[in-house]
Structure formats: structure tokens, C-alpha cells
Amino acid sequence: MERDGLDSELAIARRIQLSLLPACPVAPGWTFDAKYLPAREVGGDFYDFLYHARGEGRLEFVIGDVTGKGIPAALMMAHSRAVLRSEAHHAGGPADVLMRANRILTEDRLASLFLSGLYARVDIDSGVVTYANAGHDRPLLIRRDGATHVELDAPGVILGAFRSIELADCVVQLHPGDTLVFYTDGVTEARDGYGRLFGDERLAQAARAGTAAGEAQAVTRAILDAVADFATGAAQSDDLTLVVVQRRPA
């Protein structure tokens, strides 16, 4: 294909891929924000919100990262998103969604790539967040005081590689003013002009600064600004995705 034709196809693919990423939900007492920055025209990261998939008062979302970049990862991303959406309607909880998706991704044999993913369910009224992690970066929990953060641990295995995996649901209670930051490794592994990694500590610092500045949108802005400042002069090497969930202060 001629270069101009390929560029045109990629531009269309990019628009289609971006159209798969939903608008952030609106829920009383909560703010949500999400950002996706592919390293190339298209990429393998994604996020998805499933509105009230379990009835009123509950909201579910997923963040995922397909190994690799570019068109192969983008195709796998679209397939993975569809599988997760479909399974979400049948599964009993976040771990079940991911394990069901794993069975399909391995049985399909479409996967020349793997998928790490974190699936979470938010109970809007109580603030209880139930989540399961399939080989994905651990989300950050920043309590209301903003001074401390913890990485939410949850054992898991990437999807699409092994036929039989066991994942478990984990639970965390969000109080008013608490913030959860979900991200892909394109954030922590962003590099500066010297090849150094952005890393966990810079991410935590930026996230804490963001929570001090405002709601979910302020947190994504603070993190993206910090990554951009750090990576000045270096090309973006990997897709980068953020999902921020904040329970509004009482």
C-alpha cells in the first residue's frame, strides 16, 4: 500500500479505536477521569466503563494493556474489550470476569499477544470497591489527607498465556476524599532524555499533588504534566493510560 494510503488507514483506525473508549460516568458523590495516549497512531492500552452493569448503584470499569504496540496490539485490544464486555454480563464478580476472559482469549488462539488487566466494581453508595488483578500494575490508593498512599496488592497472572489461572476478588473501602489511580506501565516506564524511568515514586508524588489540587481531573492532569515534564526531549515509548476514581469529600 502507498504510504499516503497507509497513513489514511491508520488515521481511520485511530478514530475507530478512540471511539471504543467511553465517556467517563457521572455518579453522585464521585468523580471519574480517564486518559489514553497511544505511543503510535493506535495502541494496545484501553479502559472501559460498564454503566450499572450490575444494576443501579454499581459501576464497573476495566483498564487493560496488551503486550506490544501498534496495529497488532490495537487489534488485540479491540478483541479483548469485546470479550470483557460480553463476559461482564455473565460473571459473578471481577475475578470471574477476568478468568472467563482468559479462557476465551487462550481458546480463541487469536492472541499473539498477552493482556494485563484490572477489573473493578464500585458500589456508589457504600464506597466499597471490589477488584481483581490479572498481571496489571497495582493501583494507588491515596487517602483523603493526601500525605500517604498505598499500592493495592492483588495476586494475578496475565491473560491469554496460560489456560488455567486462579484470580481472587479483593476489596477496599473508599471514604469520602479518597482517590484510586489506575495506570498502565507506559506511565511508570516513561523515559527522560537520559533513558531513566519515570518510576513509582514520581507517579505517587504527582498523584498526591493532584489530589491536593482537586478532583479526578486534577489528578490525571498532574500526572500527565509530570510525565511530560520528565520526558521532555524523549519520544513516548509506550502507550499510556490513566483511570482515576475519587469519592468526593463529604
Binding site: G68, F114, S116, I158, F162, R163, S164, I165
Partner: protein, 137 residues
């Protein structure tokens, strides 16, 4: 940039183990070289592979792909094609058990984090002492 070197060792039980030392960065540009290196060693008779990650400063998700591929090679499966070979890998791929013929030595913090996060430590033994690691095959 990734540098690959290997040495042949023999376990007390007489098994041939190849120690593959990785230095630099294992990423999308270099993962195929590691698979090919392992393929040659297995073809030359290595019964076990020990990936020495002492000098490996960075491993991206391509490294996970490489580990999975080498695990299949060392278990006697058809050599994987990174673009097309996954059907064979999934058919006979490692399930929930350790891959006994492939082990890892001394991953540094960034690499260890990737192994931990992706669940790879459930499938591959990780050692910190080379002598003990070789003897464990």
C-alpha cells in the same frame, strides 16, 4: 541494547544446563534474539536453561513473551514464531505448573517487579545463587 552470552554447565546429576547471561535491556527490539539464542542452545543439547538476569536493567512486556516462548522450546514443543506460532503454544502451553527446565537467576528490582506483577513467578523458579540454581535442575 541487549547483550547475550552463554556458558554450559553440568549438574551433579549429569544434566546439561546452559546459563544465558542477559545484559542491558530486553524489549521489543531484542526479545527475538533471546528466543533464537535459546533455540540454538536447546538444539545443541541443553536440557535446562538458566536465565541470568543479574545485569538485565530493564525488561518490558516483550520479555514475558520471550520467557513463554523459551519455556515451550525447552519443553520440546515446536519452535514458536512470534507472529504466527501461538496456536501451537496454547495447545501445549504451560498450564498452572512450574516449567522445570527454565529458571531465572537474580532479577533486579525493575525486572523482578515485572515478573511478580505478571504472575510469571508462579511458573518459573527464581534463584539468587548460581551454583544452587544450576544444581536444582
Amino acid at each position: 541494547m541487549l547483550q547475550i552470552a552463554s556458558e554450559q554447565e553440568t549438574t551433579p546429576g549429569g544434566k546439561s544446563v546452559a546459563v544465558i547471561s542477559l545484559s542491558g535491556e530486553l524489549d521489543a527490539a531484542s526479545f527475538g534474539d533471546v528466543i533464537e539464542h535459546a533455540r540454538q542452545l536447546i538444539g545443541a543439547g541443553a536440557q535446562g536453561l538458566l536465565l541470568d538476569m543479574t545485569e538485565l536493567a530493564y525488561m518490558g512486556s516483550s520479555g514475558i513473551f520471550a520467557l513463554h516462548s523459551i519455556a515451550m522450546l525447552v519443553q520440546g514443543e515446536s519452535p514458536p514464531d512470534p507472529e504466527q506460532g501461538w496456536a501451537a503454544l496454547h495447545t501445549a502451553g504451560p498450564s498452572s505448573e512450574f516449567v522445570e527446565q527454565l529458571k531465572i537467576l537474580n532479577p533486579q528490582p525493575q525486572v523482578d517487579r515485572v515478573l511478580e506483577r505478571t504472575g510469571m513467578k508462579r511458573f518459573f523458579e527464581v534463584h539468587t545463587d548460581r551454583t544452587q540454581a544450576v544444581a536444582s535442575f
